[in-house]
């Protein structure tokens, strides 16, 4: 009676394990899969309970549990297989050309981000680059992402980075128009070339009519245009009264101008605004598109890459396979292509590392700061080490004939006490060119992975696949 209870408990526990594994199996195959494993478990448990007359010993129970754990391998394999069937891309990705295409894509993306991030550095010209409140005596920096003076930047250095300076002051003004009731706005008084100097985009400006009486122009913020004028597209050219002056609406500011300090509702463009002690005034500058690289920051990435290559022999132990005999060596052309592929991969990785380190330096901290320099150099070292390690490991598992990734790894052999029997992982080229043997424990007689060429007698197994 006791034994029956124990048997039931053991059976339920193992059925539970199988049920858990069955959840990993694709739904369409689950019932067939469960049926087979439950059947097989019946035989395993029968062996387990028949081995001893009274109760199973711990060894046979462990064997039954190990059997059920194998079901997880099987379930994961089926799930993986199902993904592969759904994604034929997974097989395509093994080819060398796809690998190079992906690397080129990553390189191009990193370059694109680097261009954007370094080109108006820090997306950049939300003009927050160099604003400083100068009119009040406290001379506190504005709430901005970057303040050059805090970093001891001389004006001479700043001029290398910036290609346009301007300033404006903010005043509270009463504004009204023909179709507009009186309202209070924060109006920024700026020079007439304010938007040109700071490369700020402006919409609707093409519709503005010429004003014969040479009235000053006013540019509305996007928010004001939307709120006060319901995004009226025919607004350009109408006259507004701004305090004591009249002005013609010249357009609507868009893009980076929303980041300007002071949060003005409009910019009144005219003669050089006078510094008024009562109103805050801001000095702003536009960062030169090539400013970042002009400062010599490119050297940080290159230094990092050189350092990484110097460190590589100490951190990368991936060896690229030899051949089990001279006769197994592929022809010289194939071998040359194989090594050329590795060189191209590493070149692409160096380019990716260069641009990606600039991206990291610009995107996550204030650009042009000392911290960004450090991030750039450190990320170049780390990314280069990771990338080259990947390149070597990837190369290790590429067929020397067709450059495709080897597939279907299987464990072969058992660990030997004397190290005289080989055990390790065997992979096969999907086109049937070679097997790759990677030793589990490198020994003096089998230290590095080896390729074993498959001769013509194997080819019928890979009909239509030999390239």
């Amino acid at each position: 009676m006791m034994t029956t209870h124990l048997e039931n408990a053991v059976r339920r526990m193992h059925l539970g394990l199988l049920w858990g594994a069955s959840l990993l199996v694709p739904g369409s195959k689950r019932s067939e899969w469960s049926r087979e494993w439950r059947t097989e478990l019946w035989y395993v448990l029968r062996e387990c309970f028949s081995a001893t007359s009274l109760s199973p010993n711990s060894r046979s129970l462990r064997a039954a549990t190990a059997f059920c754990m194998g079901a997880y391998h099987d379930a994961i394999w089926l799930r993986h297989r199902s993904w592969q069937e759904q994604q034929p891309l997974a097989r395509i990705c093994r080819s060398a050309s796809v690998c190079l295409l992906l690397l080129s894509g990553i390189c191009f993306s990193a370059w694109g981000v680097a261009r954007i991030s370094s080109n108006v550095a820090a997306a950049m010209s939300r003009i927050e680059v160099y604003p400083r409140q100068i009119s009040d005596n406290r001379a506190q920096p504005c709430d901005c992402a970057f303040d050059a003076t805090d970093q001891g930047m001389s004006l001479r250095t700043a001029r290398l980075w910036f290609d346009g300076f301007s300033h404006y002051n903010i005043a509270q003004e009463t504004v009204w128009g023909e179709d507009m009731r009186r309202t209070e706005w924060k109006v920024a008084h700026a020079r007439s070339d304010f938007f040109t100097v700071l490369h700020l985009p402006m919409s609707l400006s093409e519709h503005v009519r010429s004003s014969p009486d040479k009235l000053p122009r006013i540019v509305l913020s996007h928010e004001t245009w939307t709120r006060e004028f319901a995004s009226n597209p025919n607004l350009a050219g109408i006259k507004l009264h701004i305090g004591s002056v009249d002005a013609i609406v010249a357009g609507v500011a868009s893009g980076g101008s929303s980041g300007l300090p002071g949060r003005a509702n409009a910019w009144l463009l005219g003669s050089d605004p006078q510094v008024a002690s009562a109103s805050p005034e801001f000095l702003v500058a536009h960062l030169s598109p090539v400013g970042y690289f002009d400062d010599g920051r490119w050297a940080c990435s290159l230094l990092g890459i050189v350092l990484a290559f110097l460190m590589l022999p100490f951190v990368n132990h991936a060896s690229i396979g030899g051949y089990s005999s001279r006769s197994h060596k592929p022809p010289l052309v194939r071998r040359s292509l194989f090594w050329a592929f590795l060189i191209v991969k590493i070149s692409a990785i160096v380019a990716i590392v260069y641009f990606a380190s600039v991206d990291l330096a610009c995107l996550f901290v204030q650009p042009l700061s000392y911290l960004s320099e450090n991030i750039q150099a450190a990320s170049a070292v780390v990314l280069c080490l990771l990338g080259t390690n990947w390149a070597f490991r990837d190369q290790q598992q590429r067929c020397p004939y067709c450059l495709r990734r080897m597939a279907h790894p299987v464990q072969v052999g058992q660990p030997s006490r004397t190290f005289l029997d080989w055990n390790g992982t065997e992979l096969v080229c999907e086109h049937g060119h070679v097997l790759l043997h990677i030793p589990e424990i490198p020994t003096s007689w089998f230290g590095a992975p080896r390729w074993v060429s498959l001769d013509r007698s194997w080819w019928f197994l890979f009909a239509g696949q030999n390239g």
Binding site: T39, F67, M69, G70, D74, H408, V428
Partner: protein, 104 residues
């Protein structure tokens, strides 16, 4: 067209076991000494590659013997050819799993 078969040591060993009459998963495990996590995925892959085919035992046979029905595996003609090639390469396989030693 079927995907290309992969003839590794393990595939060859399992093919030889099936050919020798160890025709369901547990008996193949017992004969080859391979763990379940290796044998069953290998059997599925070989079935996909059309080296073997499977069929379920009829329920009445299983009922008569008071056990659950088994899923039996059998070599296909492609599997037989693959096994012949493997035996040329791994002649020791025949000694590991001698043909004729069957297990019900």
């Amino acid at each position: 067209m079927a995907r290309e078969p992969r003839l590794t040591h393990i595939t060859a060993l399992i093919l030889q076991a099936v050919d020798a009459g160890f025709v369901y998963g547990f008996s193949i495990m017992e004969m080859t000494g391979l763990p379940s996590g290796t044998v069953y995925p290998a059997l599925r892959r070989m079935e996909e590659d059309q080296l073997i085919r499977s069929r379920w035992e009829r329920q009445e046979i299983a009922d008569r013997e008071q056990r659950p029905p088994r899923k039996y595996y059998q070599l296909t003609s492609t599997g037989k050819r693959a096994l012949e090639t493997s035996l040329k390469r791994y002649p020791l396989l025949q000694r590991l799993v001698p043909i004729g030693e069957t297990k019900s």
